[in-house]
């Protein structure tokens, strides 16, 4: 499963999921009290699985990822619940042991590429160091690998690019350099926080291809945070929709896209601007804003913006209820016998007309 060059600390056990997150809660101190940012998030990621994590900005996607990586160091933060990597508990693990897992077994692509690099060293030097931190190879060998990966990432003239400083690269090149750094040790689990946001669609296609091939070549699993529903549809086996720090819906991607069970998921899918077909005057945006974490309504967090809100929604947060195999949504509608209608081809102007175009 892991790359042969550095052996594997934790072998795969086919009976347990690679990553098992259960009841993860993260709260930050603010104004003298604890503000719950991520609440009771649970999901599993099988070996060689790709899970897409979507949700509005501020819903806690990055915080979830950082908590899994043990990277939240804000003073006073409280992380509870369990994060098991191949059965081993990561929550509460001493920082030194977590650091050993990071980079080799678990790698992360950060949302903001600037946070991954220090400005004072060339990007090549920083990737070399990352490789050498986990493997005993010479500087020259490390550089050769760095250059090769940068090339695979579609970075032009990778040898020269490796000698540049972070600020000398365009946003997209910086992002690719960071992806190269994350992939340099063939991680078992890759957590990618919006890895292709700064990239044009042709390079994005190339990177997604690479991420998909990671699974084929190394059996790696990927937790892919993105807000591009097209990327999710094309890359992820399953999808988890986060709203205001809670799981709104989770399930196999094809079910979530064709039979969304949560009105927020449906609204997300409706907001995608069409590339083909008639151009709407305005996009069907969801009115209003998500609640601030310290003042979530007592019932469903989506209630204040939901077209279907009614009395049953406003008392307690709705529990996640099964809709089908591995498919659950935290909404009262299905249980009340009034599930959302499935989406039809007419909802996808891009699909119906797209094929006719070059």
């Amino acid at each position: 499963m892991c790359s042969l060059t550095h052996g594997c600390v934790m072998p795969a056990d086919p009976t347990i999921p690679l990553l098992d997150v259960s009841d993860l809660c993260v709260s930050f101190p603010a104004g003298g009290r604890m503000v719950p940012i991520v609440e009771h998030v649970s999901f599993t990621l099988p070996e060689a699985g790709i899970l897409g994590l979507v949700g509005e900005s501020g819903s806690g996607k990055s915080v979830t990822a950082m908590a899994i990586m043990g990277l939240i160091d804000t003073p006073g933060v409280r992380v509870s619940g369990s994060v098991r990597f191949r059965g081993r508990e990561l929550v509460g693990l001493p920082p030194r042991q977590i650091r050993r897992l990071r980079g080799r077994d678990i790698a992360m692509i950060f949302q903001d590429p600037m946070t991954a690099f220090t400005p004072v060293y060339t990007i090549g030097w920083q990737i070399d160091e990352q490789i050498r931190a986990h493997e005993r190879i010479s500087r020259t060998q490390a550089r050769a690998r760095t250059v090769r990966i940068l090339g695979e990432m579609g970075v032009p003239d990778p040898e020269r690019m490796a000698r540049r400083y972070p600020h000398q690269l365009s946003g997209g090149l910086r992002q690719r350099a960071m992806i190269a750094m994350a992939l340099s040790c063939n991680p078992t689990l890759l957590i990618a926080d919006e890895p292709t946001t700064a990239l044009d669609v042709t390079v994005q296609a190339q990177i997604l291809d690479l991420i998909r091939s990671l699974r084929g070549t190394y059996g790696s699993s990927v937790l892919l945070i993105t807000h591009d529903m097209g990327v999710v549809a094309q890359t992820c086996d399953s999808t988890l929709v986060l709203y205001s720090g809670r799981v709104a819906e989770t399930g196999p991607s094809d079910r979530v896209f064709s039979h969304p069970g949560h009105p927020y998921t449906a609204a997300l899918l409706d907001s995608i601007p069409p590339l083909y077909g008639p151009r709407p005057d305005r996009l069907p945006a969801i009115a209003g804003a998500p609640p601030v974490p310290m003042a979530r309504p007592p019932g469903c967090a989506f209630g204040p913006r939901c077209a279907h809100v009614h009395a049953a929604c406003t008392t307690t947060p709705p529990a996640l209820l099964p809709l089908g195999p591995d498919h659950e949504a935290a909404c009262v509608l299905p249980a009340e016998g009034t599930p959302l209608p499935p989406r039809t081809a007419a909802d996808w102007p891009i699909d119906t007309i797209g094929d006719a175009c070059p």
Binding site: G55, S57, V155, G171, L199, T202, A205, M229, A285
Partner: protein, 328 residues
């Protein structure tokens, strides 16, 4: 308020080039002789490869960086070499929303301060210093404009998500009621629902404030929604430009066609198209002939020797290709 009748472009660049000195005595040509104009009230979408020079072009337009060659005209006036002192009064009228949203908000200042700062620094429309009460009102309006709670004004940038910070950036750029905004990937960091709000916001701003903008984005569907015209860049040059749907639905340049095909469709089970192959050229060492020839599926001998120039191929539609694709 704004003179939308005037046929004169609000922003015009002529033969603009910008190169950077990089290691080993090499020059990297980030923008290579671009000419284009932006009419008042126009929404120009700018798309292209990462690293093709979109941000650099935007910064040159607003004179946020020195220009290597060519001319930049704003409101009919040549600003190519204006010293900063004389640019200053023009600055409120041309603003940029930067790509790296988190990098440009001072982490030690509260959001309220960050939004008030440009209002304190620049005088009001009557050329007088703004009153504190006016500044406060404006700051609140701005928060509302970008759908952030007024209560957030006392918080610090790190307490916001990436998307929320991007909205703060947009609010900051709009603080001085600019005529021209260069928005460098303003919605790339946002989820689709907030993205839809911001996209609608940009449409409203144009109708309500007569705002003109250049909108850089990678998401072609977003660009389609906000632009009246689209320019496609590849390796420092514009390779195709025309009315939005003409360019996106009937691309004439093979690179534009590759872009539109690569858009991931929000449909599960659609097979992704094969990524564009070929060698990605370096901007330090641009290929001879057509700049796209190392990756073009339609390359012919002529393409390797002779550089195609941007020329009209259909009414209101230009492309830089010897063998433009026919309309489908």
């Amino acid at each position: 308020m704004t003179d939308t009748q005037s046929p004169a472009p609000l922003m015009e660049v002529r033969n603009l080039s910008k190169s950077y000195r990089v290691g080993g005595g090499h020059r990297l040509v980030a923008v290579d002789g671009i000419s284009l104009s932006v009419m008042p009230g126009e929404m120009l979408g700018l798309v292209g490869e990462s690293g093709c020079g979109k941000s650099t072009l935007g910064r040159c337009m607003l004179r946020l960086t020195d220009i290597s060659a060519g001319q930049v005209m704003f409101e009919g006036r040549d600003i190519t070499t204006l010293p900063e002192r004389r640019l200053r009064p023009l600055r409120p009228r041309m603003q940029m929303v930067f790509q790296d949203s988190s990098a440009c908000l001072n982490p030690r200042r509260r959001i309220g301060d960050l939004l008030a700062e440009p209002l304190r620094v620049h005088p009001g429309p009557d050329q007088r210093r703004r009153q504190a009460a006016d500044i406060e009102r404006r700051v609140r309006d701005l928060m509302e404009l970008v759908s952030l709670p007024v209560a957030a004004l006392t918080r610090y940038p790190h307490e916001f998500s990436g998307g929320q910070r991007q909205r703060i950036n947009i609010a900051r750029a709009l603080a001085l009621s600019p005529r021209l905004v260069v928005a460098d990937e303003p919605v790339s960091a946002l989820d689709v629902s907030v993205q839809a709000q911001i996209v609608n916001l940009f449409s409203d701003l144009r109708t309500r404030l007569g705002l003109t903008y250049v909108f850089v984005a990678h998401d072609l569907a977003v660009v389609r929604q906000v632009s009246t015209r689209v320019a496609v860049m590849y390796l420092g040059a514009i390779v195709e430009m025309g009315a939005t749907d003409d360019v996106l639905h009937q691309p004439a340049h093979p690179y534009t066609a590759a872009l539109t095909t690569a858009v991931p469709r929000p449909v599960v089970g659609a097979t992704p198209p094969p990524p564009l192959g070929g060698d990605i050229p370096s901007p330090v060492n641009r290929p001879a002939g057509c700049r796209f020839h190392t990756r073009c599926p339609y390359v012919q001998d002529r393409c390797r020797m002779e550089a195609p120039v941007l020329r009209p191929i259909r009414p209101g539609h230009e492309a830089a290709c010897h063998f433009p694709l026919p309309p489908s």
